[in-house]
């Protein structure tokens, strides 16, 4: 191994090796910095707490979408799944107690994920196509369970609990979500199941040729997606005390933007849990900052769109740069061989 590299050098290597992640961090810092500089109220403890609360829900969705996109698919039904769980948890909270309702909701949402993953693998249908249908199907189920109404809580012990401030910035909800992030992160980076997911996403043909069975990674990814959707929906439902069957659709767009900011590639096989977290934070900074500036909701979408375009332009540019470097390397290698062989050729043909 090389001699001891200084911390600065190692950091530099890290940045160069992970351009997308580094850009995500840069973006997060810029967005935060902008709002902190232009608004006195932004850099307060309360604001950070609010951001972390937002993070709890959007983070789960971004995490789920990140995993799906890494696997080369996407789950368009995530919003509907979350709404369904929200409705289940809120509706049955009073009758069955929070924990039972929560358990039911999570079991339902995860099972939905398992089924979708199985179909994607077995039918060889693209998830984007299947989830167009399930998005609507789940909305119908949610409407049915909610009986067309907006369901509301009457007892607020647990909801209040999950929102209690801990350590100034966190709450039981956000702690739970952070724990999920850590667990999933370890899973993706250090287990063979996680590697399979990266493999079928980034190089599906090769992975299948090498003998990877598509069913396992698909079921794993979509059940995690279902679980995260369910948990996110439950948290929102309990926090706000209400749930609407047709709500939470914005989560899909915001979650996708967060995932892309965090460095996933639509081609699959790239990205990670850390990126998902950073992407979510960036979107949260933007959301919260804009709320502080009294920006109307529709403009928020505009800024999200712009943010997405910036990230895409960066990713495309980085890809073009990589391709150009590779071509240069190939040409250079050719030039090397050339010198050796051409001299030989001239020698031989001269005789």
């Amino acid at each position: 191994m090389n001699g001891h590299l200084s911390l600065a050098d190692r950091l530099k290597n890290r940045v160069v090796e992970n351009p997308d992640l580094s850009f995500a961090v840069l973006l997060a810092v810029i967005v935060y910095g902008y709002f902190a500089a232009t608004n006195d109220l932004f850099m307060t403890h309360n604001t950070t707490f609010a951001i972390m609360e937002r993070f709890a829900v959007l983070g789960l969705v971004a995490l789920a979408l990140t995993l799906c996109i890494i696997a080369g698919e996407i789950d368009l039904s995530i919003g509907s799944n979350a709404a369904l769980t929200a409705v289940i948890v809120v509706r049955f909270n009073d009758q069955l107690g929070t924990f039972t309702a929560l358990a039911i909701g999570l079991v339902v949402s995860t099972t939905i994920g398992v089924i979708q993953g199985y179909f994607v693998a077995y039918l060889r249908v693209r998830a984007i196509v299947l989830t167009v249908g399930t998005l609507m199907l789940l909305r119908g189920v949610a409407l049915f369970v909610a009986q067309e109404k907006t369901v509301m809580l009457t007892e607020f012990d647990v909801p209040d609990f999950i929102q209690t401030k801990m350590l100034a910035y966190f709450s039981p909800a956000s702690f739970l979500v952070i724990a999920v992030f850590i667990l999933v992160g370890i899973f993706m980076a250090y287990t063979k199941y996680g590697r399979e997911i990266y493999a079928v996403g980034g190089a599906r043909k090769e992975a299948l040729a090498a003998g990877v069975n598509l069913k396992r990674p698909m079921i794993i990814v979509f059940s995690i997606s279902g679980f995260c959707a369910g948990l996110g929906g439950a948290i929102i439902g309990l926090r706000s005390g209400t749930a609407q069957a047709l709500g939470l659709q914005y989560l899909l767009l915001a979650g996708t933007v967060a995932a892309f900011i965090g460095g996933v590639s639509i081609l699959g096989g790239k990205g990670g849990v850390i990126g998902a977290a950073i992407g979510t934070l960036t979107v949260n900074f933007l959301n919260t900052g804009l709320v502080f500036n009294v920006t109307p909701a529709y403009q928020v979408q505009l800024y999200l769109g712009i943010l997405l375009i910036i990230v895409i332009m960066f990713q495309t540019g980085s890809r073009i740069f990589d391709a150009r470097q590779r071509r240069k390397a190939v040409l250079a290698a050719v030039d090397e061989r050339k010198v050796a062989l051409l001299t030989k050729k001239r020698q031989v043909l001269a005789t």
Binding site: T191, K192, Y193, V330, V334
Partner: protein, 500 residues
């Protein structure tokens, strides 16, 4: 010798075409058996049967003395038979070690990149990758090293029989040597290796015995020491040469049609220049990696080029994309018709007219009548069954598919047709037909430039041959001066580096 694998009387047909007819094959423990044969001789069919990808055959398959039949490659792998295909199945973004342990049975569930690298060390050493950092992304390695990693993955499953299908086809010299060394090591460790290759010099370097396949039939295996290149080639080609190829006679040099001037496609070591005359069939001879395919693609605007021009039709230009070449009546067929030579899901009729939509439509409107007529004529010209023009191109046999892929260029009334591997994956009967069509086209005044690694084809079809070796233009032959031996020398060892 202890025979570990023995196939007797293997026959396999696809529809009416017999790919294998009563083939025998065997290999002993610790033996390196070369498997050679021309395109279409049946090598890949046989190899698929051995490795469990194909179980639709008749005949006996004995493994370690017991009759058996593998219904899937997974089962074959568990029994100890592994195959490294020509196309790599590595995940480019993952590390070497991660690729070695992809989809294995005995893989740890939880592991860091480093621990995987440590466990992979053993297998990487076995294939000769001793100084590779196993935590590095696999796409940073050279192609040769990547092929070695793929084999390392197979070794990790501890196979008894290893099949290597054209392992050095895309490799340069030093990487090829690494592969050969690895094969020697593995054989010494008791593994049996089936080495499928076109590179006869390599076959002689490492195999113990050689089995030749010819038109679906096998020869008895011969010791490598008892053969040389010429006798081997004779075994491979047999005596059917005369019937397959149309006559070529010395022709008066027609007009200069096209000049390639200092063309330098990416991947070539230096620029190339040559002329093409009307009415001739010009062959570019060279093995994979020699650059013949890249030259054709560059002429057609399908491959990145550093510099150079083409003089054609009164213009000096370089096509920037295929459309530009087509406009100037230059047609090009790549060596992979399934990838970009055919629209498999579309009707044959549409395939035939695809480069020349304007010629079958009036002011952009196409109600089918004119197209049907044009397609009919083209199909007749290339002896494709005219009653099935509405069928999808995907249902055709390999030979007929190739005819469609080639024939569609007639729709633009081309002056020059460029073809890479004109008869890849085509049965013998269709081959003869295609050769005749090519001759007919040339006789009508067009020029055909083709590249081929098929020794028969490159010797007996063209009027002229230009030879290439590892990205350099070497020399050329004409008419009666074209010999297999001459060509082989130029394309495998022009600088006298080994003694064959």
């Amino acid at each position: 010798m202890d025979t570990i694998l023995k196939l007797t009387g293997i026959s396999r047909s696809f529809g009416a075409i017999a790919a294998l007819d009563g083939v025998d094959f065997e290999i002993g423990r610790g033996e390196v058996m070369g498997l050679v044969g021309e395109n279409g001789a049946g090598k890949s069919t046989l190899v698929k049967i051995i490795s469990g990808f194909d179980d639709g055959y008749t005949g006996t398959y004995e493994f370690e003395g017991h009759p058996t039949r593998f219904h899937s490659p997974g089962v074959a792998e568990q029994a100890g038979i592994a195959i490294a295909q020509q196309e790599l199945s590595l995940i480019p973004a993952m590390s070497v070690a991660e690729n070695v342990f992809l989809a294995g049975h005995n893989v740890q569930a939880v592991a860091t990149k480093r621990s995987l690298a440590a466990r992979a060390r053993r297998f990487l050493d076995e294939v000769g990758l001793t100084d590779i950092d196993a935590t590095v992304r696999v796409d940073r390695l050279s192609i040769g090293e990547q092929h070695l990693v793929e084999v390392a993955r197979l070794i990790a499953h501890d196979p008894k029989v290893l099949i290597l299908d054209e392992p050095t086809a895309a490799l340069g010299e030093s990487d090829s040597i690494r592969i050969l060394n690895m094969v020697k090591k593995l054989a010494a460790a008791g593994k049996s290796i089936i080495y499928v290759s076109h590179r006869l010099d390599e076959i002689f370097k490492i195999t113990d015995r050689i089995t030749v396949l010819r038109d679906g039939e096998s020869q008895r295996p011969r010791k490598a020491a008892e053969l040389n290149v010429n006798s081997l080639v004779e075994l491979m080609l047999g005596r059917k040469l005369e019937n397959m190829f149309p006559e070529r006679a010395a022709r008066d040099r027609r007009d200069l049609l096209l000049s390639v001037r200092d063309l330098w496609p990416d991947g070539m070591l230096e620029s190339v220049s040559f002329d093409v005359y009307g009415g001739e069939i010009l062959g570019l001879a060279g093995q994979l990696g020699s650059g013949t395919g890249e030259i054709l693609a560059a002429m057609a605007g399908s491959h990145r080029t550093r510099s150079g021009m083409i003089d054609f039709g009164g213009e000096t230009f370089l096509p920037r994309n295929p459309a530009a070449a087509i406009r100037r009546k230059l047609g090009y067929c790549s060596d992979d018709r399934k990838y970009d030579g055919l629209f498999l899901g579309r009707p044959i009729r549409e395939n035939l007219t695809s480069p020349a939509l304007e010629s079958v439509s009036r002011f952009g409107w196409n109600f089918g009548g004119r197209e049907q007529q044009v397609a009919y004529d083209l199909a007749e010209k290339f002896t494709v069954d005219v009653s099935r023009l509405s069928a999808e191109a995907g249902v055709l046999s390999g030979g007929n598919q190739q005819k469609v892929a080639l024939g569609k260029w007639l729709s633009i009334s081309p002056k020059v047709i460029l073809v890479n591997e004109p008869t890849r994956g085509v049965d013998v009967g269709a081959k003869a037909e295609i050769y005749q069509k090519m001759r007919n086209l040339a006789d009508e005044g067009a020029a055909i430039v083709f590249a081929s690694t098929d020794m028969q084809e490159i010797t007996y079809l063209p009027d002229r041959v230009i030879t290439f070796y590892r990205g350099m233009q070497i020399g050329g032959f004409e008419l009666a001066g074209i010999t297999t031996a001459g060509i082989l020398k130029d394309i495998t060892d022009p600088f006298n580096e080994t003694n064959l």
